[in-house]
Amino acid sequence: MDRTGLGKALACWAVFGIVMCLLPFVVTTGTLRVFIFANFLAMFAMSWDIISGRTGYISFGHPFLIGVAGYTTAMLTYHLDVPLFLSIPAAVLAAMVAGTLFFVPALRTRGTYFALVTLAFMELLYGLTQVVQPKITGGTRGLSGLPSVVSGAVPNYYLSFLVMFAIGIVLWLIVRTRIGTALSAIRMDEDAVKSTGLNTTKLKLFAFMVSAAVAGIAGALYVHYLGSIAPRGIFEINFLFTILVAALLGGPGTIIGPIIGAFFLTCLLEFLRPYIPGTERYLIYGLVALVLYYYAPKGLYGIITWVLERVGVIKPEGAKA
């Protein structure tokens, strides 16, 4: 991206930031709560995107990382009264340690096998939280009455948005560096990356650590926003699919795409709620996802950039010179 392109992109980030900061002045508290969930989903989807969208290592066990962070801060605050400014960093660290567990199978497997191994991690933690030391984890009912970081819809909205916005910009900048390019190259042909003298192990470890840190931050803040954590809420397959669909629908490997996808998906589900109150609305969003992914594999981000290229706002990338 040249200087003009970078300037335009930063301007887009600034406009997005300003619009989102003004939102509490124009929408109801109820709508704001919808956007809080969208912010958290965007963080989860970006975290997934760094591993799976960027390096091509498809993770089906991302809630494992979120759950490790969520349970760490929940147990520390619930049982030991550890203040949030200590429990949340501890949760992020725990998620990063969990990220290294994810990384070990990535040294030997990829594709379907890697996806299944990560799914097994999630299922394992799902089982463990329910049966091992239920007094500590809260068992199947989980832990509730957790302290919140801030109270009220507006402060929670600003907190979730500002953290999501900061994570988005940092990740977006990372993928614009040569490390980001190398991570994309791993997705396309890992052996070719090795043959150019790049240490793919270190690069993947970096991606996994960044992803785990983001999942840790988002997971810890999420449980304190909800005020509770339960195995079904975190490790349910619907939660995993919502993260995956948000990233894929928005545009995998782009960082901005998962943000767009998260907002689109959350708003779509809320828009459908008055008409289809039950879980049947997931069928509608599944259909929308299917159609979009079939006709626009680069996701909503691809559609938006295509439109912006057509109207001349941005220059086409990868065009024939």
């Binding site: 190398a182 994309s184 070719a192 090795k194 043959s195 150019t196 003298g197 240490n199 793919t200 990868g318």
Partner: protein, 234 residues
Amino acid sequence: MALLEIEKLDVFYGKAQSLHGVDLNVEAGKIVGIIGPNGAGKSTLLDTVLGLTTRKGSVRFDGRDLAKIAPAKVVSLGIGYAPERGNLFPFMGVRENLLVGAYNARDKIDENLRMVFDLFPVLEARQSQETHTQSGGERQMVSLGRALMTSPKLLLVDEPTIGLAPKVCLDIAAALKKLNEKMGLTIVITEQNVNFAMSLAQEIHLLETGRIRLSGTPDELMKETHIKETYFGA
């Protein structure tokens, strides 16, 4: 002392042995051709030099044993590799593909880019073009360029003419000759196209079923009945 010394090299893919006791020395400043049919072990030999396979035997580069050295480190020691069919990153532009090769020679990026664009001017005009939209010849040029971006002392080129038009083969040959004669780059090239290898290399080795069958200069090998019958149908 040879720049690359390979001694008693055995390579295995699981239980299947692909190379059997291969001995090969590559002197600095030479172009060495490895010819042979499909499945002879040519690509395996180059992959093994880079450390991408499981092996027994010794591979030394510039006096240094490459056993237990990771491929990334091998490249940083001065071995550039242009694999068969390029193995490019299809949804990246030409320039990005070249820059992925530049991580080990970050201080020479501009200099190496200039060298690649001088060698293949068509790439300079198409820097932003994604490589999946390029012709086979252009992709081969990007592959060679990416290997050159590592500032190699030894360039390994795996079947560069596969599927290419005769005119493009000549362009590739001219570029490799220029790299060897003007820049003193040592090149090991594997080829099924025996004519191409004979026209380019100063020393040829015939690899068949994982064993070196014949070695010599192109003129010497052209006199061999086996070469004449098998590769020229004489």
